[in-house]
Amino acid sequence: MTSLKSIIRADYLQRTRSYAFLITLLVSVCMAYSFVPPAGASYSTLRIGNYVGENNAAWIGHSTAIMASTFLWLIGFYLVNDGIKKDKETGVGQIIATTSISNLKYLLAKTLSNFVVLLTIAVIILLMAFSLVILRGRHYQFDILQFLLPYFFATVPTIFIVSVVAVFAEVVLGRYVMLQNVAFFFLFPVIIGIQGLDSNQHPFWLDVLGTKYLSDEMAGFVSTHFHESIKTVSAGFIFSKKNSTQHFLFTGTYWSAVYILSRLLWVSVAFLLLYISSRLFNRFDVKEIVATKKKNTNAVELATNHPLKDIQVTQLPVASSAYGIWPFVKTELLMLIRTGPKWFWLINAGGFIALIFTPLTIAHQIVLPVLWFLQINRWADIATKEKYNNTHYFTYAAYKPLQRLLTSQIIAGVLLAIAFALPLILRYLINGDYGTAISIISGALCIIALSVFTGVLLGGKRFFEIAFFILTYLNVSAIPVFDYFGAFHYGITYTIIIIAISSTLLFGAFVFRSYEIRNQ
């Protein structure tokens, strides 16, 4: 038990002592604040037909718990799915592999560490929700159970399940990070889709997030009190006309034993998944190590058979000066193209073809953002690979590293992003819609600017991965909170705004990288 606690503690501290986590917490605070719209706001986060609850403890507890469950399922996976990978990369895994800790215990420790990280965010959301009850719902009676229990039964099991799913994905698809990201991306709509199913035909216990029962209860409450048959419960950031919204006083949910058992069932399924993971986990991929050793054996043979020769420095051909950036752009492009497994290009080819043949609106609103999202590891690598590969000693000592190297990295990224979007751009150009074609190009610039800025500022990929996932998901779901590629907004003004945002991000990246270069 002590060793389990020690592993969880060390893992938790290692993950949370980073700027990226701090920023995630800040974002969580902002999100939590936005979960409870003030009176007169133009949006709501939970809507039962045309009804929205008064801001009492029960309503705020339920609505923020539903939003927290969805939000933490959405970003939680991306936030924690690198615990085992980190152990592998740092070599700690090989030490762990030689200890007596069982696979199940190790993976349980990783799961609980994931869980504690996500629980920290959930607690922050809960505290913010509590503050908002005090601030906005002080006129109502404070029903602490109806405030806390939605978190207890919906959010907490959800984050435990996503913690296990992250461990499972790492065990099963350990080497294929891109595949993990993509698989989870497509899993999310399935889970959300289940919530939208008719409750009479599809029982609530199919819902892994545990929020369907809560929303069904709320819909039932409204139906009973207003004698209406309401089946539509919308969660998310819903914009609507103020005068079309009616308010009601929600008193809470009846916590049925079946619901509680359903949550226990999902937690049990998670434990089963964890057990399966422990059976599949081969303690830091023995096969992979053997494969690497095989490769290295050839290399070592080469090294042993051909040692360092005498180098006659004075007889080396004299190379001339060349301060252009195209050799960089070429190599940066090469590295971007070679990121990830080769077979993944078949999927990219599919996306490319879809951009040619699907209707223009679908190609622009769905295929393009998904195709760009599939390249998430390439974009995330652009400004982080130096630190990741320890080549920053070379790159930061380069001649004019900012003006030449960082610029080349950005150019290479934008060129590749444009190349992925090329069929769509050409279709718009052929149709004479130059403005939309330019907005796609500005979208390519924007996503590269975001990856470079977050990569330089935070030194890691995680924040970008989460932000890009959320952006893509929202855009594909036709919630254009930030329509960076002009799928829903038209006009030169909008494109100029996107270019201005991108330029600001790039300027920030140059400033931070300049500081970084001189302060190793």
């Binding site: 490769k295 290295n296 050839n298 290399a299 070592v300 080469l302 090294a303 051909h306 040692p307 360092l308 020769k309 005498d310 180098i311 006659q312 420095v313 004075t314 007889q315 080396l316 051909p317 004299v318 190379a319 001339s320 000066s321 060349a322 301060y323 252009g324 950036i325 050799p327 960089f328 190599t331 090469l334 590295m335 070679r338 990121t339 690979k385 590969n389 320890n390 080549t391 920053h392 000693y393 070379f394 790159t395 930061y396 000592a397 380069a398 001649y399 004019k400 590293p401 030449r404 190297l405 270069i517 001189r518 302060n519 190793q520």
Partner: protein, 285 residues
């Protein structure tokens, strides 16, 4: 060519200094940097290589302040860091072309130069394989090749012989000697014999400060006539170590041959020729 470092400090936090009020003047030739872990060798090298900025003090190359104008040195710099990495998806050619672009080197002779360097570091056969498949020694040789891509006038080698076998270390030392004719070469190593064999001058560092700098003989002079060998019982070794600065021990059954530095040796002690290692251990004790 003259690299002048004056009163440089690198402060990491309130208490912790990487370098403290460090001054040294370096001219053409090989300067060997010796010091225990945490002495500040790598910090000094990073500052000279312009990837770290001093908190205070100045560093000039022939009068040009390289803290303010780092590009002045970058064009003529060859730097082999201690823990450098590579891009695993590139092969040796591609990686060296990339580094050459960083150094501002190109033209029609670049490819022949890379080929000659790969031949020199004996990686021609493996040159088209991804560097991710290379062994540690091969990566170290790629590191050596990248140093020589431009015609560097300032060469900085941080623990360069790690991963090289004894024969390769000899060849590498020869290479450095060749390079030193008209260049400044700064070399750090934990292996005193590497420095002893090739360095014209030696600088010994400890806790971010320069303890001494001079020609090898001058450094060795600090312990000349003070190095002795005695045979003692194994059981007396612990007490002996408390009294004398022991630099080496060789166990011989129940007894131990100890090499130590002292002004007042044991009666039966044999006087020994002082070495750079003796001086280093004495100065950094």
């Amino acid at each position: 060519m003259r690299l002048e470092i004056q009163n440089i400090s690198k402060k990491y936090d309130k208490e912790k200094y990487g370098l403290k009020d460090y001054s040294i003047s370096i001219e053409t030739g090989i300067l060997g940097l010796l010091g225990p872990n945490g002495a500040g060798k790598s910090t000094l090298m990073k500052i000279i290589a312009t990837i770290s900025q001093p908190t205070s003090g100045s560093i000039t190359l022939d009068g040009v302040d390289i803290a303010k104008e780092p590009n002045a040195i970058r064009k003529i710099l060859g730097y082999l860091p201690q823990d450098f990495g590579v891009y695993p998806n590139l092969n040796a050619y591609e990686f060296l072309e990339y580094i050459a672009a960083m150094k501002g080197v190109g033209g029609s002779n670049l490819r022949p130069r890379i080929e000659a360097l790969l031949e020199g570091v004996n990686l021609t056969e493996a040159a088209k394989k991804p560097i991710g498949t290379y062994s540690g020694g091969m990566k170290q040789r790629i590191g050596i090749a990248q140093v020589l891509l431009n015609n560097p006038k300032i060469l900085i080698f941080d623990e360069p012989t790690v991963g090289l076998d004894p024969e390769e270390r000899v060849r590498f030392r020869n290479l450095i000697s060749d390079l030193a004719n008209d260049c400044i070469v700064i070399l750090s190593s934990h292996i005193v014999s590497d420095i002893e064999t090739i360095a014209d001058e030696v600088a010994i560092m400890k806790k971010g400060q320069l303890i001494t700098k001079g020609l090898q003989e001058e450094v060795i002079d600090t312990v000349r006539e003070k190095v002795f060998e005695s045979i003692i019982d194994s059981g007396d070794l612990a007490a002996f170590k408390e009294k004398y600065l022991v630099v080496n021990t060789i166990r011989k059954k129940e007894q131990v041959l100890v090499r130590y530095i002292s002004d007042s040796p044991l009666n039966a002690a044999a006087s020994c020729t002082a070495s750079l290692e003796d001086a280093y251990l004495c100065l950094t004790k």
